[in-house]
Symmetry: C2
Subunit: 491 residues, 2 copies
Amino acid sequence: MFESAEVGHSISDREYDLAVPKLREALLNSQFNLLSNKTFPVVIVIGGVDGAGKGETVNILNEWMDPRHIITHAFGEMSDEEQERPRMWRYWRALPPKGHIGILFGAWHTDPIVQCVLGKIGKRQMELAMDQIVAFERMLVDEGALILKFWFHLSRKAQRKRLKALEANPKTRWRVTETDWQRFKLYDKFRKISEMALRQTSTGFAPWIVVEGTEPNYRYLTVGQTLLDAMQQRLSGKRPAVSRAAPLPEPAVDQRTVFSNLDYSQSLTRKNYSSQLEKHQGHLNLLTRDKKFRQRSLIVVFEGLDAGGKGGSIRRITAALDARHYQVIPIAAPTEEERAQPYLWRFWRHLPRQGRVTIFDRSWYGRVLVERVEKFCSEDDWMRAYHEINDFEEQLSDAGAIVIKFWLTITKAEQLKRFRERENTPFKNFKITPEDWRNRKKWDDYQCAACDMIERTSTDAAPWLVIPANDKYFARIQILKTLCDRTEAVL
Amino acid sequence: MFESAEVGHSISDREYDLAVPKLREALLNSQFNLLSNKTFPVVIVIGGVDGAGKGETVNILNEWMDPRHIITHAFGEMSDEEQERPRMWRYWRALPPKGHIGILFGAWHTDPIVQCVLGKIGKRQMELAMDQIVAFERMLVDEGALILKFWFHLSRKAQRKRLKALEANPKTRWRVTETDWQRFKLYDKFRKISEMALRQTSTGFAPWIVVEGTEPNYRYLTVGQTLLDAMQQRLSGKRPAVSRAAPLPEPAVDQRTVFSNLDYSQSLTRKNYSSQLEKHQGHLNLLTRDKKFRQRSLIVVFEGLDAGGKGGSIRRITAALDARHYQVIPIAAPTEEERAQPYLWRFWRHLPRQGRVTIFDRSWYGRVLVERVEKFCSEDDWMRAYHEINDFEEQLSDAGAIVIKFWLTITKAEQLKRFRERENTPFKNFKITPEDWRNRKKWDDYQCAACDMIERTSTDAAPWLVIPANDKYFARIQILKTLCDRTEAVL
């Protein structure tokens, strides 16, 4: 993989001086077009060997283009706020919005490679991390991002020479640290593991571009020209086709679904409800104050038909919690800043720290429910969402979050009754809108979308709990009980 | 101040049960109106004595209203990301957007009070902190926020009784910690200093409401009813008048301004420029790598006339820096999320961590320049901005940031020359728009606004440097030199 980056590439100063002015002008023009189009972001990932000129190249790109519209992020030690969320949270925070160029320095690849070289993680974990990265980059590309991944390479000999040269110069001496030499001793191991990482994450939609780092002119021109070509191609409208997800399975021949066998007649008396409510709320309160919960977080998702009783159920949960420790996030239309980012971005920004509870009133499942049924997004978009969501929830779970998802389902007759009731109660009538009636007409489409969703996204890490909710008392107790049971099982 | 909260207020259960359903319904309705109006946020500050029922009251408010549209924040230890910014950064992060209710638990008052009781800060520092809080709350009110500050009080005797009772009950025992008893020993000191703090921060626009914390029914009803009255009053359109800022001084009788004595003829030869550029860039680079800079940050503001040379000057600075350590923030129209927050919110969110450089290409001064001249905001709004900005910059400086502001000024003739040049250079013509020509017609208004701005916001902590920029070389060197000199002086 690195052979072609050890051939001694080089560009004479004369050639370089001739090429740069044109390249700069073209880059600036492309950057301006990108900014006025605002249809996609450019994500530049910088990785590679120490001393191969990564930092200088990033500086040159900032010099050549307008640095006001480039967002450069370097990833060092994690802050405590980052440590308490899934590994990818810090990268989500740093993604450039549409129209901008983001340079991510030592991004998502670096940490697993270093960890593996130092023996802190094994090959199996390394491979899992690479899979996660591929899924993440695929999502970015599917969302329209143009990704360019540059790997700066030096041969062993060239690296030693380079580090020595930097050390000899008083102006650059500060750049060579103890760590650099320690890492140099591990050169062969680094090379082997980096090669493995690059191979696994060099995909058709986001290939690695290996750049020989020895000679600056060559390095700068290669990166600049590659970036220019990629931007010009995308701006001219040639977007790489996104591969279609696998088709959905046909409905079962007997028309049975997860909903058809539910028993909607289950109910509780008011008295029974009150005593059970108190019991389970008390239990949940204790669980969230458990010492072990301080290393965990709880993420609860509510989805379901209109008038299914989401709001009431959420209030019965929050009543059991200390208001200092939870947030309820109601999901409505995305804001302007959210629309300029990949679909899942607006959920990542609300992830709780450890010891906290976040309840989503509607969620990332909007894409495979309302957006699918109302055709707000293309079939490709909602088809790939299943996979992206599973992946997202796995990351949450890996980071210690307890993820529980409730689907509140009622019969068509019960929904009608509740709509009428809302219309006739002054204090509830803001809860019923013409949209609710419109959605009701698409009852079957929503049922079908919900079935697919449950089938494709109910996982061990984040199961769906389907709650027959014709009787509110019964549903609320079911929900509280499930929350307690699952939380207790995990702690 | 606390006498009226030691009289043994209490409400019978019968009265309470009678009042609550109506109160809840009215609160829910107000909350819904607030949400659909989206014209102002409600900021509820909760402070007071341990064991006076602060937490329970917050929980009740979340239970009575729709918790999906309440954002509760509790402030404990600072995270490392918070520690590296001005003290108020964490509160800016937690402000509710328009239409929402934010409950801030142990907000900006708590820390100075505790620090003062423990003897970590003196009276003088305490008073400064209170002044800062008054300025902050005044800004919130001027921005339209409805602020309610509740202080929960207990007499010494009542607090001991309460702590004992909590301890005796197995269900609540966890809530009384060692710290609570340690603080109880300091009851008298706490009371005295709290009283001082409340007196200083109880203003006409954001008064404290002291609530006796002994008896729950009274406590809940008082807070609920006060909140309801305040929301209803505001929703009915009665907004407290914001006091007018003092009028601006008349222009000097001799018509002299900070600009009239500038020498625009200063210039540099290309050769002289190149050698000085290299020298100062090298120096700046060294300074930002200085060990002492790791406890500092550098915030550079660029303002000036169109075609004044801001972009080119910024590029000469960034060329001296490592791209991993700076951000350039171009300020354009605010986003939707930014419009739902106080004016300065969108600048607070970009403040650098320690060891970093942030360059603002246009800035918070937009309010007293373009917004003033184009009448995008009311006179009251831009008049109060001077004070808010000074206060903001003082906080930056107190937190260790080096704040430097450049005003690039050119003559009217030079601007015309540059506009023409931009129109005739294909690669520059995106930099000239009809708006630039429109702004040029208001030349005198902009000059006048700039003079006022410099007069009212050039402070020791954050001075304005007026740079005659007819000669680009001269201006850039001046800027770099000033940056180096000031940074060096501070380190």
